[in-house]
């Protein structure tokens, strides 16, 4: 599904990713771990074409297409979804209108009929009811005045309605209580179960989410490169021993 080769990325003329390789096959769950500044967020931001990231070298193949040739919205409509670490507030844009527009843009991209208001409401009701997600957020303006938890729930709503093929979660568990983390895990596990070709790339610092969403691969990033890869046991080892304990020295900054 995703094949990243020798990726080099600058932010503000500073090289953050320094030749990163990563391959994600359909149905796989990958986790990126690493100390602050290692380049985890830069990788997912690069994959979703964030304007901060300047790709200076390397290739990214996504479903047989050159990802670097696609713009932000094309990548989203090709099935890439990045959950933002700090979703921006957009006063004046109604959340429900935003979601319906996003769904219809994707449907249009895929040559499908657009949903009218009633069809959209029906779809959202069905999807959100499965996970007991409060629909009240739909009536408000996009992330406007939302608490940290509400913003993350709103990201989940978008995830559920847009049904992406590659889900990227950037520290979705930060600032969430135990129950909210369980809801995230339930939604994501259900989506992965529903479509066996759907893949997940997530960034987290904590074992709590990983105990609920079991990864196939755990990658440790250091200084813009993946320096160690293992299975879930690597995350457990990291949790108990810390970075130094598994041979990753803090010499980045």
């Amino acid at each position: 599904m995703l094949d990243i080769k020798d990726l080099k990325v600058n932010i503000n003329d500073k090289e953050i990713l320094k030749g990163l390789d990563l391959k994600i096959n359909p149905g796989e769950i990958h986790v990126l771990m690493g100390q602050n500044g290692a380049g985890k967020s830069t990788l997912v931001k690069t994959l979703s074409a964030h304007f901060d990231c300047e790709v200076t070298d390397g290739d990214i193949d996504y479903k047989g297409k050159d990802l670097l040739e696609l713009d932000v919205s094309e990548r989203a409509n090709e099935g890439i979804f990045m959950s933002f670490q700090n979703p921006v507030e957009v006063p004046g844009v109604n959340n429900s209108y935003f979601l319906r527009t996003a769904i219809n843009e994707k449907r249009k991209y895929n040559g499908q009929e657009e949903l009218d208001t009633m069809e959209f409401l029906k779809l959202s009701k069905t999807q959100l009811a499965k996970f007991d997600i409060d629909k009240k957020l739909m009536k408000r303006d996009l992330n406007d005045g939302f608490s940290g938890g509400e913003k993350k729930r709103n990201e989940l709503m978008q995830l559920l309605l847009l049904q992406p093929e590659l889900i990227m979660l950037d520290e979705i568990d930060s600032g969430l209580d135990v129950d909210a983390i369980k809801t995230v895990a339930t939604v994501v596990n259900d989506m992965l179960q529903e479509d066996k070709n759907r893949s997940l790339l997530m960034i987290t610092h904590y074992d709590r989410l990983l105990s609920l969403i079991k990864p196939d691969f755990v990658h440790i990033l250091k200084d813009g490169k993946i320096v160690k890869t293992g299975d879930y046991n690597l995350a457990l080892e990291l949790d108990s021993k810390g970075y130094e304990g598994i041979g990753i020295n803090d010499e980045i900054n």
Binding site: M82, F98, E105
Partner: protein, 343 residues
Amino acid sequence: MMKLIDLKNIKFPTKKDEEFRKIDLSLLYGYEFKEKKDHVLDFDVLNNDALSSNNELYKINQNLDAKSYELNIVQNTDEPIVIIHKLNDDAVLNTSTLNIKVAKEIQASVIEVFVSNCQNSFYSVNRTFEVEQSANLNYFKYQDIKESNSLIINTIIDLKDKATIEHSNFELGDGVNVNIYETALNSEESNLNINGLVRLYNETKSSSIFNTYHNNKSSFSNINFKHSLHDHSRAVFEAKSIVNDGANFSKVLQNSNTILLSDDAVIFAKPHLEIHIDELEASHGATVGSLNQEQLLYLRARGISDTKAYEMLLSAFENEIYDNIKDDKIKEFITNFKRSDYV
């Protein structure tokens, strides 16, 4: 054939006048119009203009002997009174003078639409609003004058005790457009609200000048304009509010927000407060920026195209002015408005 500059006893403002530093009307003053035409309204005719003005441009209509009409509203209006002004003839100097008067404790709504279907014409409009004690006037102006035409609206507002005017403007045309407001809040608890959405394209120029005097206690004024400026358009926002002795406990607000959507678009925003008392609440501000890149990215990252995301954010910015309109019937009019129905 006639030129404005030939009119007697008018000292036409030039760029040397403080409020007109950024407004150049010299081409308009010197343009040779083939005739003059007075806009006929089905209202009572007044012998004289109801109020006098310090605004020299107000004198154009008086000088041309334009008829002064009066719309005297003595009953609550169930539906807004709609007045359509459509300029049809090329190179004509058009005039319109109307005094809108709302009787004591009456709730009224008035809509005026200014559109054009011609070239090189000029419309000189004088409006006075007299709102009696505890009355409320919701007024909405929709301006869509096309390129090469000019429109100057001189407005005088007179509010009695506890009277309120909710004055909203949509400035959407491609022509030259100047609005000059003079308001003396001489009565207690009088409320002045002026809202404006200025959306300009191409070479359009639009200027809004406000002179507001707080002369009695607990008077309120709020001037709130949003500009979205594309291409080579330019807008001027000059708001001066003076709070004099005797206007204790007044509240004075001025706000101009602008989004520049092109490197060549220009805004001159000058909110200005002159305060001569201690007991009051006042704020003024002007912001200028472009669309928020983080917000654009967020929408696009959910598959929304660049153009659509841009439109959504711009509407969100502009809709605040629409949301501020308190009369639902006026909102309904705006929602259903089609320019093609009028030209």
